[in-house]
Every structure is written in C-alpha cells, then in structure tokens.
C-alpha cells in the first residue's frame, strides 16, 4: 500500500543535541513514501485551482503526482515502459508535463482537468544521463535542448512542432565527451538564446544556440559535470561533479565563463543542485545520501540534511521555499528551511 507521509522523526544523528550554539537541524516537514522505487526526478508545479503539486519520477518508469495539501499521491503516470524517468518539467499551457525517460522517449502529458494522457512524444537519440532543458520562446512556443544523436552533440528542438532547430556539435578536436547536463537560458538584454552545457571531461561550455558556436569554455572539474544551476540575476552559476568540489563560475558580460571559486565538499559526488528562486540558498543532492544547503551569495554551508539512507538523486525548490529531495531509498523528504521573507 502506498503509505504517504506524516511528519517523520529524523534519525538520531539529527536529534542529537549539539555542543555549539548552532541549532540542531530540523526534521523534514513531511516525507512522501510510496514511490516504490528510487526517485530520480522531482518537480513542483500547480495543479487545477492552483493546488500545489509535487511530481516525482521513479526508477521503475512511473511519474507520481503528489498533493502537497493531503500529502498523498493523486496519480501515477506510466508512460516510459518501466524505464527510469530522469527529468520532469511543466509547461504553463494546459498544464502540460514533459517527462524524459531512459526509454528514449520524452513524453508530453496533458494533466488538465484530471486527465493524464500522453498527448505527444519526442524520440530521443541518446540514452545517456543527460537531463533535458526547456526555455519558453513565445507564448505557445518552447525550445527544448536534449542530448543529440552523436555522443557529443546537443540537439535543440522547437516545441510543439518538434522541429530540430539546431545541432550543437563541438569542434572536431575538442574531445569534450558526452554532454552531462544542460541549461537553456536567455538573457533579458539579448534576444539570442544561450545554452550552458556540462561535459563528460569536466568542462563547461556556453553555446550561442542560433550561431551554433561555443562562446566560451572553461574546465571546472576533472570529472564529469553531473549538474549545474544558474542564477540569471547575478549571472553566476554553480556546478557539481563526481569529485569533491562545487565550482562557482560567472558569465562575464554574458559571454565569457570564468571560474570564481571552488567549494570543497566532504564526500564526492553531486547528483543534482538547485538554487532557490529567490537566489538565497543552494541545495545539493549528494551521493553520500546527504542534502547540503549553502548560502548562495557566500557559499557558506548552512545545513547538512542527513535523512536519506541512499544516494540523493534530485532536489527541487518551489516558490514558497519548500525543498524536496528524492533518494534511492524510495522516499521523498520535504523541508522548509530559511523561509523566504
């Protein structure tokens, strides 16, 4: 039976009283159980009548829709043939849900009025770990970046027409390896969409999508870049890899990538990282089963959430400041830390 969550007491480690002045880490606000397999993707959205929802994608190919009010699953969407769901995103129209799976399908779901049917699907060319990225271009048009056919290519499609508008292939001798994470982005000042891509060799490249060329490239890590997050307001971002460091970089004049600094972690491996919409805090999902929270401006470590008992695969923030973390232990923990003022 799906047994979904009431507030869960944290492990004894967190209950322990601390010797210093710092307050003990709070327990999760609630825990969602019932995904029945490892949680690999999380996304907050609003359902009908503005009810807050949390979407989760599981290893077994199901997308669960959780109500944050009742803390119970509302629906389980099965559209990826039992293959892992790696990425979820909603488009305002509809609402429409995009889900990316390891079955080489990117499904478009219609969730409006209680429907849950696949209305469209994009066939993907690459079976890698790379998550897609989407950018709203116009009121009804979106741009979608997915890994492309060649192992080092990124393909940019236009939705809903699914036309391939551009294929971003590094120069012949670049040897970047596979793209590992993508972030489409358009600066307010410039009409040209940009794509940030983290590669297998640990470098980060800034692509001008329309010109199909690399504006800037910087080697941030010595291991594959597993995740990146961008704060467009400050033109700064952060990336994590399989090693023990987070790299903070900036986009000088929107064109040149520059590493600003690195932050040493205790254990290697970052699966995902997100900056909260108000740019106050950053959360990382660690292979060490822990979620770490930093003050984004200073990269000061704020909290270490040791709740999960397996790799944390994904983290997500919503606009009200809730933080969700999905883990290999099949649980989703939802936290409220440093509520936005």
């Amino acid at each position: 039976m799906a047994q979904a969550g009431t507030t869960h007491p944290g492990p004894c480690q967190m209950m322990r009283t601390c010797e210093h002045m710092a307050a003990p880490v709070p327990n999760p606000q609630f825990v969602l159980r019932g995904a029945r397999s490892a949680v690999h993707a999380l996304h907050f959205c609003h359902g009908a009548q503005g009810h807050p929802l949390l979407l989760s994608g599981s290893l077994r190919g199901l997308v669960h829709v959780w109500s944050l009010q009742t803390r119970r699953p509302l629906a389980a969407l099965d559209g990826h043939g039992g293959q892992c769901v790696t990425w979820l995103h909603t488009l305002p129209q509809g609402p429409q849900l995009l889900s990316q799976g390891r079955d080489l399908q990117l499904c478009v779901w219609d969730l409006a009025e209680g429907r849950n049917a696949v209305v469209d699907a994009v066939h993907l060319e690459s079976v890698g770990f790379c998550r897609a990225s989407v950018l709203a271009e116009g009121p009804q048009r979106w741009m979608l970046a997915v890994p492309g056919r060649g192992s080092d290519e990124v393909q940019v499609l236009e939705l809903p027409s699914k036309t391939s508008v551009s294929c971003l292939k590094p120069e012949a001798g670049a040897r970047l390896g596979m793209p590992m994470c993508l972030q489409l982005w358009q600066a307010e000042s410039s009409p040209r969409p940009l794509l940030l891509a983290g590669y297998e060799d640990g470098s980060l490249a800034l692509w001008d999508v329309s010109a199909r060329k690399v504006c800037s490239r910087v080697a941030c890590h010595s291991e594959p870049v597993m995740a990146l997050a961008l704060d467009p307001r400050r033109a700064r971002g952060v990336s994590g890899s399989a090693e023990k460091v987070l790299a903070v970089w900036s986009l000088e004049g929107q064109q040149a990538l520059q590493v600003r600094g690195t932050h040493e972690l205790i254990n290697p491996g970052i699966a995902d990282l997100k900056i909260r919409p108000d740019s106050k805090i950053l959360a990382t999902a660690g292979w060490d089963h822990r979620v770490r929270v930093f003050q984004w401006r200073t990269m000061k470590p704020l909290a270490m959430l040791a709740f999960h008992s397996a790799t944390v695969h994904c983290v997500a923030f919503n606009t009200t400041g809730l933080l969700a973390a999905g883990s290999g232990d099949q649980r989703i923990s939802v936290w409220s830390l440093y509520p936005p003022t």
Partner: protein, 792 residues
C-alpha cells in the same frame, strides 16, 4: 597682653562661670546669646578680631563646658527645648573641626549607655546630615600644615575615618543608621566631592589650596577596606567632572598623588576597579605612575605579579591605562617583558597556582593587543627568547591546562612578535578558557564589527554531524580484520577493519582468543596512516576489547611491553590507558551475568526481550495478574545480578609487571628522569587498578606494593606525579579491607599519614592538597571504624 585677647578672655571666663553655676534659665540663655556674638551669626556681631580670638582659643573650652552641663534637668530649665536648640547651635555653627573633635571626645568620654551619650550621638548625626563634615575637611585644605596642626590633622583624620568604628564601639546595638559604614562612607565621599568643588572654585579665584588632607582621608578609608563605598560615589562624579575640564583633572591627579604611600595600593586598586575603562582611569590618574615610585610599583608589579585577584575588566583598564600615554608606554613594554619572563619561568610554572598562571597569561595577551608593531620589534629578540623558553617548559608540563596555556599564548604571541613568519598552530580543545583568552587577544582597533554581515545573513544549523561516508568493505571476521590491518594497502578496507574490530571482538570471544596476542601487538603498533577521524579512540576501544576478552595473556603482554625498548611515550601511555579501561570493564558488576546469559540461557537466566518464548511471557503475565504482592517495591524491579569480580583472577597480570621496573631507566625511557608525564600516568593507572581490585584476594599484596611505590616517589617535584601518588594512597585505603590494612600495612600507613598531613598543608598544587585531605579523611574514617573494635 593684647587688649582684644584679654577682653574676650574675660567675657568667656564670666560666661563659663555663669554656665557652670547658674540654675536660672533666662540667665543662661542670655549668656549663651552673648557668646553667640563671637560666632558671627547674630545681628550684633563681635568685631572680627574678637571672633577670631574666640574661635582659636576659647571655642573648645565653651563646648566642653556645654557638654559638661548636659543633663535632663539642665535642659528642662527652659520649656520647649529652647535651651537644647541653642546648645546644639554652638556645635553646628561654630568652627567645624573643633566642634567635631569635642563631639567625638565627649562621646568617647561619656559613660555608656547614658543620656549624655545618646544626646551627643544624635547631635553628631545632625552634624553629619548638616554637611558639617565638608566644613571639617575644607578647614584643613586652606592652611599650610605646621608642626602643631599636623598632629591635629592626624587626630582629625583618625576620627573622621574611624567614626563608624568609634561610634559602633560606644553605642553597640544602639548605634544610629547614619554611622553604619555603608551609609557613612558614601556620605564622606559626597563631602569630599563638595570640598573638591570648593578647592576648584578657590583655585579659579587664584587662591592656593592643598588637597593633601582629602588624600589622606581617601587613603585611610581605602586602607580600611571601604574602597567600594567611598569610590563608588567619587569615581562616577569625577568621571563626569573631569571630562574636558583640565582644572578638575589636575585637582584629581593631585588628590591621588598626595595619597600616602602606605595607602597607595588600596586607593589605586579601588580606582582601577571603580573606573569604567582605561580612558577614565587615565583622566583620573594622569601620569601618576611616572611621578610616584610607589604607584608605579603597585600598577606594574603588585597588581600584575604579586596578586591575581583583579577581574578581567580591571586588568583591561590597568593595562589600557598604561598604553594610553606615550610617557607610560615604556612601562607597558617593560611589563610585557616581565610578564613573559614570569610566564616562561619553569620555576614559576612549577610553584605558582594555576589560577595565577592564567592571570599572567591573560595579562600577557592584553599587553600584546595594546602594543604596536614598532614597539614589539624593538625588543623582539628578548621577547622571543623568553617566549620560546616558556613554550618549551610549558609544553613539557604534565598538566594539560598548563600546556594549553602555553599553546594559546604561543600562538597569539608568535603571531604578534613574528608576523611575517608562518603562523604557529597547535591543536587544543576549545573551551571556555580558550575562548576567553582568544577574545582577549583581539586587538583594540579591530572592534568595529564585521563589515560583510548584511541583514540577509543566514544562520547555519549545527553541522557537527557531518563526516565522511563509510564504504562497504567492512570485514566480517576477527581474522579478516587482523589481516586487513597488517597487510592491506587498501586504506578504505583498513579503516573499515579498524572500525569494525571492537564489535567483532566482543561478538566472537573464542575467535579472538586464538589471535589475541597478535591482535594486541598489531593494535599497539598501529600507526595512523591515513587521516582517520577518531583513530586514537578506535584503536583504544579495540585494544580494550581484546584485553577484556583474553585478560591474562594480553594484559601481561601489555604490561611487560610498557617497559620494553623502542616504544614511543604515546604508546606507553596508551598501554596504561588500555589496562585501566580493561580493568574497569572487567570489574564492572553485572558484566558476568550478562555474558553468561548471552552464552547459554540456562534455567536461571533472566527473561529479556525477544529471547523469551511467547508462552513464557504469557504465563508470567497471568501469574503477575493473579498474584497479590504485599511488598510494594522491589519485587517488580529485579536486583542486579550479583557475581564475582572478574578482575579478581587477573588483577595481578595487570598490576605487578607495571611495578617492576619503574626505577630502571632504559635508553629511550627514563621514568624517573624526563618522562615524568608517563610516571604520573603510571601512578594514576596503578591507583585506578588498585581501586578496581576492590573485593579481590590480591588486593592486600597489591596495596602493600603500591604503598611502597608511593613511598619511594613521595617527594617527586612534578605535581601530576604527586597527584597520582595521592590518589593511589586513597585507592589503597578504599580497596584493601580495613582489618588487613591494620594487620599488614600499619607501619606504612602511619608513615603515609604524616606525609599526607605535610602535603595537605604545604603543597603548592591545589589538587594535591585536596587529594591529601581526602586521603587523610579516609584514614580518619578507618580509625573511627576500628577504634570501637579495639577498645574493650
């Protein structure tokens, strides 16, 4: 003869005659009224020269005569207390010093308790509340002190300051609230302020004044221990008055300068305590320390080296005061040098109380914050030399607080003295003291708050639980661990083996016994090859577990290794710790029962948890329901299982090898020489083993051997060693049965007793004294218990 003088004399003689003989109220009144002319208060004043002659020569006589007449009948000669009022006015309006002296004199002369005494005391209280004390003191400020009046001043001073004591002695329980010291001295402070105000006013008017009488009053009051009362009033007012007022400042400086040398310390200490900070102190004292040798001695020697009672704010004020003026700064440099020298002197480290060492260290840190780069550089070599010597002797000490002081001061001082060099960094635990000391070391100007802290600064949660994640290479058997620890190049596995070992050893005692000696050897020689968090503790826990599992062999091995060649001091101390911990574990009551229960759940085993079959629980529950128990408690809670002390059989293996060779140095290990830290630890460990051997058969020979050991080392110079010895004596007294103590160890105990008495009285170390007292108490108790036995 001067016509004026003789005229006044005649008038006075006549008045005295009338006063002493007349019974007529009206006559007396008119006589008194006529005398009042000389006081200058009435409309018909006497000529000024006559007034002066009267007050100089005859006033005291008149007052004494008035005192002599005082009686209920005399006062009743006129109705409505008219006479009393007139009588009192002479004391309250005439020259204050004479009035005061006569008042005091008559109070001392009056029989107690008596009408006259109470009248005079009340009059004195009125005298005080009318503010006449200011007049008394002011009178002493104008005149140049001649030899005659110096004696008078002396008397006056004694009376002014000693007033509460005199009155308290005379009046006993009848004394008035105004004469309580806590009321009188604040009043005196107020009066001193009023006189100072008058002095300042007359200086403004161009008149010369002396404040030396005030200084003497202040000094004497402080010597009497009334700093708080009098300075509590004076200092806040002077703080305000001297602000931006040079005249007041000069008067204030003069006031302190004129304090007699013997009172200087009391006054300065009071001022340092009462002043809210170095700025105020500097305003109040000026450059006193450069003018007065005594003041300099008090401020730079006595309060820093000879005492250690100043609070930290006082110390901050004192050293801040020295730092505030260029003329005084050389004294601060000198103080720093001497502080460092004292701090580093190995004899001081050994013979001064820890409290004082902390005090000196703190003073040292404060000094450093006040001194500039250039000043430090000028005497850097000298300072560094004493610092280094001090660090060396402190780190050699066997007392952790002394070492810690060495580390903190060395870090801070070397950073200041040698800023270009690489920073010195020690590892020490942070506690109240280190935080306090490091806070002292923050330089003054840098106190303008963190600049970066915006209002959106988020407060981190407790992150102390953060650590490295463990791999999954944990061995499952003791032999695997042994192999991983000896041969493995895979550090994750090595670490996992170390972490798992204790649990495995406890879980499988039989497997452990097969390899116990090897395991002990490996663990003893284990080095921290990778930075494993908590390595020392893991290794220790594992060794303790092995020792507990196979006590006889492992303990003997370890104890023999203690004296073997080629071990580091660290390893030797580890051996001692492990032996003590293992002995503690073995002697823990109830341990045996639990182990047996785990081994074979026989018929007598206690039911516990899931091990109990369900039917048994059900039956017990039924029996419990239907059984009525008359005894309310005790039946439900089960008593701890009694069992023999497991340490009994093996205590000898732990104990005796450790005692064998302490007096025979080997090349790398000299217990009676440099390695006194280990010796101290050995003494403590032996004491602990003795204590744990309570109720064992071997306790008596152990006690005998231990007392011999203690006797050989009793005059050791190191406090830590002595502490160990004293606690060992206490252990002997606690563990060896009393009758055996008397039978076998009587001589030793009698000898120990006199030694303990000496230590309790004379040892420099507070803990030693305390331990000696405890041991003496135990001896007393023993005697008390045996006396009834021996007495018929």
């Amino acid at each position: 003869m001067d016509p004026v003088a003789s005229a006044v004399r005649l008038a006075v003689q006549e008045a005295v005659h009338i006063l002493s003989s007349s019974e007529d109220g009206g006559h007396i009144i008119s006589t008194l009224q006529s005398l009042r002319r000389y006081l200058g208060e009435t409309e018909t004043q006497a000529p000024p020269e006559e007034q002066e002659e009267f007050s100089r020569t005859h006033f005291s006589t008149i007052l004494r005569c008035l005192v002599g007449k005082l009686s209920p009948d005399w006062l009743d000669l006129l109705p409505d207390g008219q006479l009393e009022e007139l009588w009192a006015s002479f004391f309250l309006e005439g020259p204050a010093d004479q009035a005061f002296l006569v008042l005091m004199e008559s109070i001392e002369g009056a029989a107690s308790p008596s009408f006259r005494l109470m009248k005079m005391a009340r009059l004195l209280a009125r005298f005080l509340s009318a503010g006449r004390m200011a007049a008394v003191m002011e009178g002493q400020c104008g005149q140049q002190a001649g030899p005659a009046s110096r004696l008078l001043q002396e008397t006056l001073l004694t009376r002014v300051v000693g007033l509460p004591d005199h009155l308290g002695n005379r009046l006993q329980r009848e004394t008035l609230a105004a004469f309580f010291p806590q009321n009188y001295f604040p009043l005196l402070g107020e009066e001193v302020l009023r006189v100072l105000q008058a002095v300042v006013d007359s200086l403004r008017g161009g008149l010369d004044c002396s404040v030396s009488f005030l200084s003497q009053v202040l000094g004497k009051a402080c010597v009497h221990g009334r700093q708080k009362e009098i300075l509590g009033v004076l200092v806040p007012r002077l703080t305000v008055l001297t602000q931006g007022n040079c005249l007041w400042q000069r008067v204030c400086w003069r006031l302190v300068e004129c304090v007699p040398d013997r009172a200087m310390e009391a006054v300065l200490k009071g001022l340092v305590e009462a002043a809210p900070g170095p700025e105020v102190l500097s305003r109040l004292l000026g450059n006193l320390v450069t003018k007065s040798k005594k003041a300099q001695f008090v401020m730079t020697q006595k309060l820093l080296f000879l005492q250690y009672s100043c609070s930290m704010p006082m110390l901050q004020s004192l050293l801040g005061y020295l730092a505030m003026d260029s003329q005084r700064r050389p004294l601060l440099v000198q103080a720093l040098k001497e502080l460092l020298e004292t701090w580093g002197s190995s004899s001081a480290i050994r013979h001064t109380p820890l409290e004082q060492q902390r005090y000196v260290s703190k003073a040292l840190l404060i000094c450093l914050t006040h001194l500039g780069e250039a000043e430090l550089r000028a005497s850097r070599d000298e300072l560094l030399a004493s610092l280094m010597e001090g660090v060396k002797s402190r780190l050699d000490s066997s007392l952790p607080p002394v070492r810690r002081l060495g580390m903190i001061v060395a870090e801070v001082a070397s950073a200041r003295l040698h800023p270009e060099g690489p920073p010195l960094k020690f590892q020490y635990e942070e506690d109240e003291l280190t935080r306090e000391m490091l806070a002292l070391a923050v330089p003054w100007p840098a106190a303008d708050g963190p600049s970066e802290a915006g209002d959106d600064e988020l407060v981190p949660y407790d992150m102390s639980g953060d650590g490295e994640q463990r791999g999954s290479k944990t061995p499952a058997y003791v032999r695997d661990c042994l192999e991983a620890l000896t041969a493995s190049e895979d550090w994750e596995r090595w670490e996992a083996a170390l972490r798992a070992l204790e649990g495995l050893v406890l879980k499988s005692p039989a497997a452990t016994r097969e390899v116990s000696l090897e395991l002990a050897k490996v663990l003893l020689h284990l080095e921290e090859k990778t930075a494993v968090a908590g390595f020392e503790r893991l290794r220790q826990r594992a060794l303790v577990a092995v020792t507990v599992t196979d006590p006889a062999r492992v303990a003997e091995y370890l104890a023999v290794q203690f004296y073997a060649l080629n071990y580091s001091l660290r390893q030797r101390m580890d051996i001692l710790d492990v032996l003590a911990l293992a002995a503690q574990e073995l002697s823990r009551p109830g341990r045996l029962g639990r182990a047996a229960q785990r081994g074979s759940p026989g018929p007598g085993s206690q039911p516990s948890g899931a091990a109990v079959p369900a039917w048994k629980a059900v039956v017990e529950e039924r029996v419990r329901c239907k059984t009525r128990r008359f005894c309310k408690q005790g039946s439900t809670g089960r008593a701890a299982a009694a069992g023999p002390n497991e340490f009994n059989a093996v205590a000898g293996y732990f104990f005796f090898p450790l005692l064998q060779r302490f007096d025979r140095p080997v090349v790398t290990f000299d217990l009676l020489g440099d390695d006194q830290l280990v010796l101290g630890r050995l003494a403590h460990t032996l004491g602990a083993l003795m204590y744990l051997a309570v109720n064992t058969a071997v306790a008596v020979p152990m006690g005998k051997a231990l007392l011999e050991f203690v006797w050989a080392l009793r005059f050791h110079g190191d406090a830590y060693v002595r502490r160990g010895l004293l606690s060992a004596v206490s252990s002997v007294l606690l563990s060896v049965p009393a009758e055996w103590l008397l039978a076998d160890l009587l001589d030793e105990l009698l000898e120990a007793r006199s030694w303990l008495a000496d230590v309790a009285e004379q040892d420099a170390d507070e803990d030693c004294r305390l331990l000696a007292v405890k041991a003496l108490l135990l001896l007393e108790k023993l005697r008390d218990r045996l006396l009834p036995l021996s007495s018929p």
